[in-house]
């Protein structure tokens, strides 16, 4: 059995996991994340990050169907786990041999070494680390020995436990005003959830998932089929109604801090909806999207500020149309010269456009008019009669209204003739033209609509913060927005919201991420492309395109009737 003695895979994945573990340690991630407890006194986020490398390395160390015996599989896991620990042990030894290591590697702190050695000193600590990583590797390898019926509930339970632990701080923030102190003390430790809570969540999640796969799913499916279409429609309406009601009362549940976060997420959702039209619907890759956001914000700032730079000094509501129109015009002005460009060339030019706007804003040339690096202060707040929008909760509803409007417009456009034109344009420009589609107006409509939403987002952004500075409008915003619509699913409206929650909301809530946000983006984009190239919540067209072979049974209702003619 030549195959069963072949450990090359275990060695390869073990080393990869080791390098990953070493990198996340040496850049300071493990230490930074160590302050967040997931399960009080048992597991921190830093440890989770560190140990998951060995688990995953072990999981990949062998594959079913290669003639590997169970014992062989566990052995491979052990090898992978030990190899994961080896680079870390080297790091520990290195700190002893070379006390000045921090001159070169700033983040290799004594605290990090304490985490790696479990506070047990160099020798004992290294040994413990080797053992722990080895065991984790074995567990990772053993996971694939289980049947899928056991794997899924286990994974589900683990994810719920870790997820709730990770978000315990936020849950506490929400629950505190409503719940008795004693109950909270029982559920949550100083930081994170208590071990008992963790076990309860795990068991519950496993049980629910096991029941669902065994019985519930089938029963629900049977009920769904048995339901007459009218009831199904009513039910769907009811669900949407409940969802809207939930979104409306959310600020009262969440409190000021979380509402603030929701405002940031909402601003990105609004921008995402706009960029989704340009990139997702029409297939025009725009990397300078932040320019329209900046234009919307600056027009709002200049028109409503009480400061020296103010022109007009009009109210928020009077200035809002100007912001949107200015951004729309900028969208058309950008659109005209790039009408004949495609793909990469278009991306480069739009990238340049975004930079031009940013450079103009900080330039000395325009400083007397728009404030240069000092920005614009004292921007007006929206006001309805005597009620002034000040709190994050107030802006929450304003942003929500903007998002709903943008989502409604996107949805109607997508299903109208214009949406068809965008789709044809995205698929093939030449053929689209041969079908009688005007490319000029189709492209300009995409740029203009996308820019309008971004301008609206910018205007609200400026008013919410009361002051704007050029550095808020850098390339990173464009990249953030693009990343979130890709992760959410290009061309999908719910995808934009999911993408914004994952890429903007999570890092905002888990403040430790802030420094590593871009790393997280990169990692998430790669993982998404590998595991779910269609995005987290894809549009039907993209899902179909990427999973054609599995589509036979679900595409019935999607393509049955002749849709959106006329």
């Amino acid at each position: 059995m030549a195959q069963s003695t072949n450990f090359s895979k275990a060695v390869r994945y073990g080393l990869i996991a080791g390098v990953v573990a070493l990198s996340v340690s040496a850049i300071g991630m493990v230490e930074t994340f160590d302050v967040r407890d997931i399960i009080t006194g048992v597991l921190t986020l830093g440890q989770l990050l560190l140990f998951s490398t060995a688990l995953i390395g072990g999981y990949f160390s062998w594959k079913k169907g290669e003639g590997v015996t169970p014992v062989g599989a566990l052995l491979r896991g052990l090898v992978a786990g030990l190899l994961t620990a080896v680079p870390l042990v080297f790091l520990i030894i290195l700190t002893v041999l070379w006390p000045d290591i921090r001159d070169s590697f700033v983040n290799v702190t004594p605290a990090l070494i304490n985490i790696l050695t479990f506070d047990q000193g160099t020798v004992t600590g290294s040994l413990i680390l080797l053992v722990v990583m080895g065991v984790l590797g074995v567990i990772g390898a053993a996971f694939d020995l289980l049947s899928e019926r056991i794997q899924k509930p286990l994974l589900y339970g683990l994810l719920w436990m870790l997820g709730i632990g990770l978000l315990s701080e936020i849950l506490l923030l929400i629950l505190r005003p409503y719940s008795p102190r004693a109950l909270l003390a029982l559920l949550f430790g100083d930081k994170g959830i208590t071990p008992a809570t963790a076990v309860v969540i795990f068991v519950l999640a496993v049980a629910i998932n096991a029941w669902w796969t065994a019985r519930g799913k089938e029963a629900a499916e049977r009920r769904r089929i048995a339901r007459p279409p009218s009831t199904a429609k009513q039910l769907r309406r009811l669900n949407i109604g409940l969802l809207i009601a939930f979104i409306l009362i959310l600020p009262f549940i969440m409190g000021t801090y979380l509402t603030e976060v929701a405002d940031v997420v909402g601003t990105f959702v609004l921008m995402g909806l706009g960029l989704n039209i340009v990139v997702g619907f029409a297939g025009l890759l725009d990397l300078g999207y932040v320019a329209f956001f900046a234009i919307g914000a600056y027009v709002m700032g200049l028109l409503t500020t009480q400061g020296d730079l103010g022109i007009g000094g009009i109210s928020f509501w009077a200035a809002l149309p100007f912001s949107v129109i200015a951004a729309t015009l900028a969208g058309i002005i950008l659109g005209v010269p790039v009408l004949r460009m495609r793909g990469d060339y278009l991306a480069i030019v739009t990238l340049g456009f975004g930079e031009i706007i940013r450079v103009l804003v900080v330039s000395d040339l325009l400083k007397p008019y728009i404030g240069g690096a000092q920005g614009i202060l004292q921007i007006g707040k929206p006001q309805i009669l005597d009620f002034v929008f000040v709190q994050p909760e107030h802006f929450y509803y304003l942003i929500l209204a903007g998002c709903l409007l943008a989502a409604f417009v996107s949805w109607r456009f997508r299903d109208a003739r214009l949406g068809r034109r965008w789709m044809a344009l995205r698929e093939d420009e030449d053929v689209a033209e041969a079908m009688g589609i005007r490319l000029v107006s189709t492209k300009l409509m995409a740029f203009a609509t996308g820019a309008a939403f971004s301008g609206l987002a910018g205007a609200i952004f400026a008013s919410r913060l009361s002051s704007i500075f050029p550095h808020s409008f850098n390339l990173l915003i464009s990249i953030n927005v693009l990343s979130l619509i890709i992760v959410g699913g290009l061309g999908s409206l719910p995808g934009v919201v999911v993408g914004a929650l994952v890429l903007v909301g999570l890092p905002e809530l888990l403040r430790e991420f802030a420094e590593y946000r871009l790393l997280l983006y990169g990692a998430l984009l790669i993982v998404t492309m590998l595991l779910r190239p269609e995005g987290l919540w894809p549009s039907p067209v993209r899902r179909r395109e990427l999973h054609e072979s599995q589509m036979e049974h679900i595409s019935e209702d999607e393509t049955e009737e002749v849709h959106s003619l006329a």
Partner: protein, 237 residues
């Protein structure tokens, strides 16, 4: 008056004089074939007619109207449908969606559904595969789809660019049978083809194009008998 009239048409690619003043007519109800070797200017002629290469004023008239100022996308609503070389179907859309796209400029829902059914009659294969992604079909099926899609705009004049390219002989035969059928249903066809043998079999008249000039024009039957055509294009010594 001819449906389509081309008078002294010139076209340039940079310094290359690709079309050196060609003239041809297509009468209503005809199938006209434009045959010629590689680089003779067949596709350039079609691209000029469809507006992808702007012609000189007066060079091309459709039903008596000058086409020099018209953009490619406007031709569809004027009753001209083009099936581009290499088929050009929307690979990531389904067959049905592709066909719907062909009727893009129309708003008569009943008429579109009727035409959809007649396209399915013309190409039963498309009806079987209406939910399949166009890009996953065979070359012949994609050619059928491209032709079906062109028919969805209910054209009076159908421009076909190399419909037999890259297809198996059996399929070529089937495609040309369909061209005859489309024509019998009342659509005028201008066909550009390297496969002179098939093109002259279905056509009423033909033009032979050589390095940007028309060297011969006659009825298809006469062309098939012409010794020069036999030697150069039909492979008969």
């Amino acid at each position: 008056m001819a449906l389509l009239e081309v008078n002294n048409l010139h076209a340039y690619y940079g310094n290359i004089h690709a079309l050196k003043g060609i003239s041809l007519q297509v009468e209503e109800g005809e199938i006209v074939s434009l045959i010629g070797g590689n680089g003779a200017g067949k596709t350039t002629t079609l691209r000029s007619i469809s507006g992808l290469i702007p012609p000189k004023p007066g060079a091309i008239t459709l039903g008596g109207e000058d086409l020099s100022n018209h953009k490619a996308h406007e031709l569809v609503s004027r009753g001209v449908a083009m099936v581009p070389e290499g088929r050009g179907v929307f690979a990531k859309l389904t067959v049905l969606e592709n066909l719907e796209m062909g009727a893009f400029h129309r708003t008569d829902k009943d008429g579109i559904i009727a035409d959809l059914n007649s396209v399915y009659e013309l190409f039963p294969r498309l009806a079987e595969r209406k939910k399949q992604l166009a890009g996953t079909m065979s070359g012949g099926e994609q050619q059928m789809l491209a032709m079906g899609r062109a028919m969805m705009s209910r054209p009076t004049l159908l421009l076909l660019d190399e419909p037999s390219m890259g297809l198996a002989p059996v399929l070529v035969e089937a495609i040309f049978d369909t061209i005859t059928e489309i024509n019998k249903n009342g659509t005028t066809v201008l066909l550009v083809e390297q496969n002179a043998h098939m093109a002259l079999q279905v056509a009423h008249r033909g033009y032979v194009l050589q390095t940007g000039t028309i060297v011969l024009s006659d009825s298809a039957k006469e062309l098939q008998r012409n010794p020069m055509v036999q030697k150069a294009y039909l492979g008969i010594e």
